[in-house]
């Protein structure tokens, strides 16, 4: 009696059609279930990453502003830094001038630090440019040339005289100065925040719940605080964006009398 070779092969080394179909179905079912889970996880990771990126940007902005505004708060003899804000449909520009460092007796040079924050609606960039002016006014040149003179270094009226020179009759000409415009142009290439769909600044002068201003050009006073609302784009075409809000105290300056 002989055994047919093909029947031996079928019974020992191959899967039946039913087995193959069953395996494929189970695999497919598992794949669909796990792909769904993986897809949901990847989606959540993407959203979380976007949220972290946005918070990182806002945190960077807060840190920068905190550093820039610090010097506006306490100045000697009631003198304050210069603060300027203009807003229109194209965006806004916020400019400040402050002496740096705060204790003029340790500087022989008389730095003035000019900082501009600028939001451009078209490019959706929020940029910051800083410019240290040194020796660009006759007054600074005059004092800087005598920097070895200790009595002059200790003359605390020196910087008091400088700031009003910038906030005088043509208070905010410096915003258009070529050096600052150049600095801003460079800053716009590496903005602090990108994809800023909307950004508004409200200036608080009295009660925090009271009326607010959207322009400021008084070189002799500071607003109490800024309220900034920033809407960042989550993904192209997605509306609404992620809206952040933060309150930034500037305070009425504390006068330090010598």
């Amino acid at each position: 009696m002989s055994v047919h070779p093909s029947s031996l092969h079928n019974s020992k080394h191959a899967f039946t059609l039913v087995e193959l179909l069953l395996a494929s179905s189970v695999t497919l079912l598992l794949f669909v279930m796990l792909a769904g889970l993986a897809g949901a996880s990847l989606d959540t990771i993407g959203k979380t990453r976007s949220s972290v990126n946005h918070h990182e940007g806002i945190s960077r902005l807060l840190g920068r502003m905190n550093n820039d505004f610090q010097g506006m708060r306490v100045l000697k003899d009631g003198e304050v830094g210069v603060f300027h804000l203009e807003q229109n449909e194209e965006g806004w520009t916020l400019g400040i001038v402050r002496p740096e460092p705060l204790t003029p007796s340790v500087t022989a040079q008389g730095y003035l630090r000019h900082v501009i924050y600028h939001w451009d609606r078209e490019t959706q960039h929020l940029s910051r440019a800083a410019y240290h002016s040194i020796g660009d006014t006759e007054l600074v040149k005059g004092t800087a040339s005598s920097s070895e003179n200790l009595s002059l270094n200790n003359d605390l009226t020196r910087l008091e005289d400088l700031t009003p020179a910038y906030a005088g009759e043509a208070p905010f000409d410096w915003l258009d100065s070529p050096a600052l415009r150049d600095a801003l142009e460079r800053a716009e290439e590496t903005p602090l925040l990108e994809k800023v769909r909307e950004c508004s600044i409200e200036l608080i002068t009295g009660s925090i719940t009271g009326e607010t201003l959207d322009q400021w050009s008084d070189g002799g006073e500071l607003p109490r605080a800024l309220r900034i609302r920033v809407t960042l784009q989550i993904s192209p075409g997605a509306t609404p964006g992620r809206e952040f809000e933060f309150l930034f105290p500037i305070f009425n300056p504390v006068s330090v009398k010598e």
């Binding site: 087995e19 695999t27 990771i45 972290v52 605080a225 809206e243 952040f244 809000e245 933060f246």
Partner: protein, 124 residues
């Protein structure tokens, strides 16, 4: 049939491993995100305390609802972050008793404490 079971087992195991890796990544990203959110909210609460002497009111404890993006919401049940402000009792032995101090606690919806800080201001 045993080969089929083995293949399904290996496939499931690799998928579970993949999901576990995704979960770990998600957990660490969420932790960073929570940290940034609580810092932003803490900044806003501290700013509000310093700017508004009538806030949060005269009660010893207040709870506020915040969005994760720093916006204060009308009710404590709104948003996904809660801020608990507790006015600390004045210390009679402390020379600066003209200050009022607050404990700020930032919690998520599950009541997990994300951040805790103290703030002081001159009494109105």
């Amino acid at each position: 049939m045993p080969e089929v079971i083995l293949a399904i087992g290996i496939f499931s195991l690799s998928m579970v491993t993949l999901l576990a890796a995704l979960g770990t990544g998600l957990g660490s990203a969420k932790s960073v995100s929570d940290d940034y959110q609580s810092q932003l909210i803490l900044h806003n609460v501290q700013s509000r305390l310093s700017l508004d002497p009538s806030w949060p009111g005269t009660d010893s404890a207040h709870t506020f609802g915040f969005s994760s993006t720093g916006v204060e919401l009308p009710s404590e049940d709104d948003g996904n972050i809660q801020v608990r402000l507790t006015r600390l009792p004045a210390n009679p032995h402390w020379e600066s008793s003209h200050l009022e101090t607050f404990q700020i606690e930032i919690l998520d919806l599950n009541g997990t404490l994300l951040e805790s800080a103290l703030a002081a201001r001159i009494k109105p």
